[in-house]
């Protein structure tokens, strides 16, 4: 499958050349004799399922890992980084998915932390610092005051800040590890412009993403990894997304992803949960909706539209300002998560690592955490029952784990998400509220999660899904509600689904039919 034949259209010598790069860990070869060549000033996409070896490759490039075999040449000279410092000196910069920002320092200090301008060798030169910081902020199109502390920035702004930081010193290779995962469409467009500017200035960019459409928008070349091997490197112009997905997973998945729900419209039975005049976070407009059993209801909206806040307010994880919640048409209070859980309502938060799982503890412990009464008698745990029940759910959800005793930390993103679902199914949750259920999950696992949610809906569960990915909602849901600044801007049924329409509603443009209008002077938080 290797296609190196297109090297003809790259006249210049490669910036980075990798030959036979191998990295082994106890029990697994994470990277297996990978060859790769990066041209100067190209945007090179790196794709592959979780565990394909992308992170390992990046860590080898930036000196976090030492390879077991193989060689690298950077700018024509042998390149053997022993530590991240070597990589920095060579001009290789990495922006990781997890930010490395110091929240209590100012934007300017964070931007130039690696090379703070000094006066007399000791004192911080704030004048130069802020001047250079402003220039960098302008370069990445981030309109914030360099004096404010980073804790006041949103996720998207932090992402841009990280990129600005990477550009603060001369770099020849910029590695972006899933930079778009947390960004909205508009921010992504701006990010792409910045990346193109970076390329124009002669820097090579490695771009890791799970979103294939982004690769076709942005990249020049794409390399597919699978199980630690390089499967192919292709010019983007000469391939298409079906081919790449095919190379990534080795089996057909497109149908599963694009198929949508094939079941007939679910009967509009009694509402599993109904919300009236729900107000939260100082939002003056109440929210109302009803979710019947067997339905998958999608919530679309930009970052900051109040999607996450709405779910947390219903679940009782955060304070509500007002409103009524009915469960099976019975008024419930849900003033803390315990009450919601007791009524069979659960929330799968967007941060499964921070809020969904007890990462250092065993899979078994995580599954049974929601309902310890089921595996105990008079407060005493029954290890046998626990194992058997946990094992049931592991098998039911087809989780790939080595052992029930394995720490949740060691699972891949897709399996972690399944684990979070498993723990709520263990509790017999009837209403599942999922916040970004497939964020940071590879294509294959994503399809499995979708399939699982459809199966659960068919089994009568009421499911509420928040997602930044409109195609995901379109493929998955029976009905979509669009949030805009803390209230509903519109509702679409399955036969009305239309990506462009959902997007324009989410951006605050009224519905094509004009039956919803927006009064001006909205009080509330700014959305960006």
């Amino acid at each position: 499958m290797d296609t190196d034949s297109h090297n003809g259209d790259r006249p210049r010598s490669p910036l980075l050349e990798i030959k036979g790069l191998t990295k082994r860990f106890p029990g697994v070869t994470a990277l297996n004799a990978v060859d790769l060549s990066l041209a100067p000033a190209e945007i090179h996409a790196l794709v592959g399922e979780n565990g394909a070896g992308k992170s390992t490759l990046i860590k080898l490039l930036c000196g976090s890992y030492i390879p077991d075999a193989g060689e690298m040449r950077f700018c024509g000279a042998p390149y053997t980084p022993q530590s991240p410092l070597d990589a920095l000196e060579a001009g290789i910069r990495v922006v990781y998915q997890e930010f490395n920002l110091l929240p209590y320092l100012s934007v300017a200090e964070n931007l130039l932390f690696d090379c703070l301008p000094r006066r007399y060798g000791l004192l911080l030169d704030y004048r130069t610092l802020h001047k250079r910081a402003s220039a960098l902020l302008k370069q990445v199109g981030l309109d914030v005051d360099p004096h404010i502390s980073v804790e006041r920035l949103g996720i998207a702004q932090r992402q841009l800040l990280e990129i600005g930081k990477a550009l603060s010193s001369a770099s020849r290779l910029l590695i972006l590890d899933e930079p778009t995962a947390t960004l909205t469409l508009r921010e992504i467009r701006r990010l792409f412009e910045i990346i193109r500017d970076v390329r124009a200035s002669g820097v090579t960019v490695i771009f890791v993403s799970h979103h294939l459409n982004e690769i076709f928008d942005l990249c020049d070349t794409v390399t597919v990894l699978r199980n630690g091997r390089r499967i192919a490197s292709l010019p983007v112009a000469a391939t298409n997304s079906q081919e790449i997905v095919h190379l990534m997973v080795g089996h057909e998945l497109e149908a599963a992803l694009a198929g949508g729900r094939t079941v007939e419209e679910p009967s509009r039975g009694p509402a599993a949960i109904r919300v009236q005049d729900l107000r939260f976070r100082g939002n003056a407009h109440g929210i109302a909706f009803a979710l019947p059993y067997g339905e998958i209801l999608g919530i679309a909206g930009l970052v900051g539209s109040g999607r996450t806040e709405m779910l947390r307010a219903i679940f009782g994880a955060d304070r509500r300002d007002g409103g009524e919640i009915y469960r099976d048409e019975q008024r419930v209070l849900f003033d803390h998560p315990r009450a919601a859980v007791r009524h069979g309502v659960c929330l799968l938060t967007e941060n499964r690592k921070e809020e969904g799982l007890v990462l250092p503890m065993a899979v078994r412990v995580n599954v049974t955490l929601t309902d310890l009464a089921r595996i105990s008698r008079a407060g005493l745990l029954n290890g046998g029952t626990e194992k058997a029940l946990a094992q049931n759910w592991v098998a039911e959800l087809d989780m790939r784990i080595a052992s029930l005793e394995q720490a949740a930390l060691d699972l891949s993103g897709g399996n972690q998400q399944k684990l979070v679902i498993a723990k709520w199914l263990f509790r017999n949750a009837e209403v599942l509220m999922l916040d970004e259920p497939t964020r940071g999950i590879d294509v294959g696992a994503k399809a499995e999660i979708h399939e699982l949610l459809r199966r659960l809906a068919s089994a009568g569960k009421a499911i509420l899904v928040v997602s930044s990915e409109i195609p995901e909602l379109v493929a998955l849901c029976d009905r979509i509600l669009v949030l805009w600044r803390g209230r509903f801007a519109g509702e679409l049924r399955r036969d009305e689904f239309n990506e462009a329409r959902i997007l324009s509603l989410a951006c605050g443009e009224s519905m094509a039919g004009g039956n919803i209008s927006f009064r001006g002077g909205t009080k509330g938080r700014s959305d960006e």
Binding site: E355, L359, A362, L380, E405, Q406, D410
Partner: protein, 349 residues
């Protein structure tokens, strides 16, 4: 449930491994070794120390000296048992020494009450001591959890409050001449083992069972690892956090009674510095100060190590001051070893 308490269970046996997922889904190779090492390490250190002192310190293996060590270890072991619960949820209790003095003074007043027959006075004194300990623990836990104040600060305050209260009870006078039945317990032995040590041992066993075999213990560990995830799973984390401090208070109350019966006095200056010994036993025993990792088996061995070290050094003629320096050094060493252990775990992941 503490993984460390069940070495060997983590081997992949039951679950079929899906071949293509092997890359991510694997038990860290040295997991078994790590689990054994966590407690075996401190156990080996304790054994080594016993071997060394047996050969170099005269009278170390004498029956009277062994009894002495067990007696010395008892109080620390009792307090460290409660401390383990607090540290497992990621807290700390600096007030245990002062609360011990306060509980002892209140119990001492009850004990000396002329109005009560001796058996009733003793029973009531035990109950009061425990009640005072638990009340102080409740206040620590409630304030720390309700207002989200670091327990370090709250219990530092309680350290002063309880010490002042202890002095206030009798206006700083020491109480003595307790009933003989009460004083006898402090020196009683069963099959040659000090009775008070057996009480401590029972508390450790009970605590161990609670931590490893009950829903309560499971949630203590889970909260120590990720409180927010436990809260969002529908549990009352506030209850468990306060409970950990109440358990610490409970062990302090029991410790106060036992200490009184051994010394046959109750003084408001009792127990100063005990908090550091208890914390040292827990930390040397491998429990992480960040919470969520560790076990009472480790605490037991840690308290034993501190006791044996102190006793052996005395027998070898090492002075008080140098002994204190050595004990401090051991605590620092334990923390360094723990940090290496964490790094080792990281690397083999």
């Amino acid at each position: 449930m503490s993984e460390s308490d069940r070495p060997g269970e983590g081997q992949p046996t039951e679950t079929p491994v899906v071949a293509e997922a092997e890359a991510k889904a694997r038990e860290p190779r040295f997991a078994f070794l790590q689990r054994v090492l966590r407690e075996a390490g401190i156990g080996i250190a304790l054994l080594l120390m016993i071997v060394i002192f047996s050969s170099f310190a005269r009278h170390f293996t004498d029956e009277s000296n062994i009894t002495n060590i067990l007696t010395q270890v008892t109080i620390n072991l009792i307090m460290a048992t409660g401390m383990t619960f607090v540290i497992l949820i990621g807290g700390i209790d600096l007030s245990v020494g002062s609360v011990l003095a306060f509980a002892a003074m209140v119990a001492g007043v009850v004990l000396k009450s002329e109005a009560l027959p001796v058996p009733a006075a003793i029973t009531l004194a035990v109950l009061t001591s425990i009640a005072v300990g638990m009340a102080c623990g409740f206040m620590n836990g409630f304030i720390a959890s309700f207002w989200g104040v670091p327990s370090f600060i709250v219990t530092l305050g309680m350290l002063n409050v309880a010490r002042g209260a202890a002095l206030e009870v009798t206006n700083a006078r020491t109480l003595f001449e307790f009933p003989n039945e009460f004083n006898a317990f402090g020196t009683a032995t069963l099959l040659g083992i000090p009775a008070i040590f057996l009480v401590a041992l029972m508390l450790v066993l009970l605590g161990w069972a609670v931590l490893t075999r009950t829903v309560f213990g499971r949630l203590i560990y889970a909260i120590g690892n990720n409180e927010e995830a436990v809260r969002l799973s529908g549990h009352n984390t506030f209850f468990y956090k306060v409970s950990a401090f109440v358990i610490s208070g409970l062990t302090v109350g029991i410790g106060a009674i036992i200490y009184m019966s051994r010394l046959t006095i109750a003084s408001p200056i009792l127990g100063s510095g005990f908090e550091l010994n208890a914390i040292a036993a827990v930390i040397i025993g491998g429990t992480s100060l960040n919470g969520g990792r560790g076990s009472l088996v480790g605490t037991f061995l840690g308290a034993g190590l501190i006791g044996v070290l102190a006793d052996g050094l005395i027998l070898m003629g090492v002075g008080d001051f140098v002994r204190q320096m050595i004990t401090g050094g051991v605590i620092i060493l334990a923390v360094i070893i723990d940090s290496y252990r964490a790094r080792f775990a990281e690397r083999t992941r």
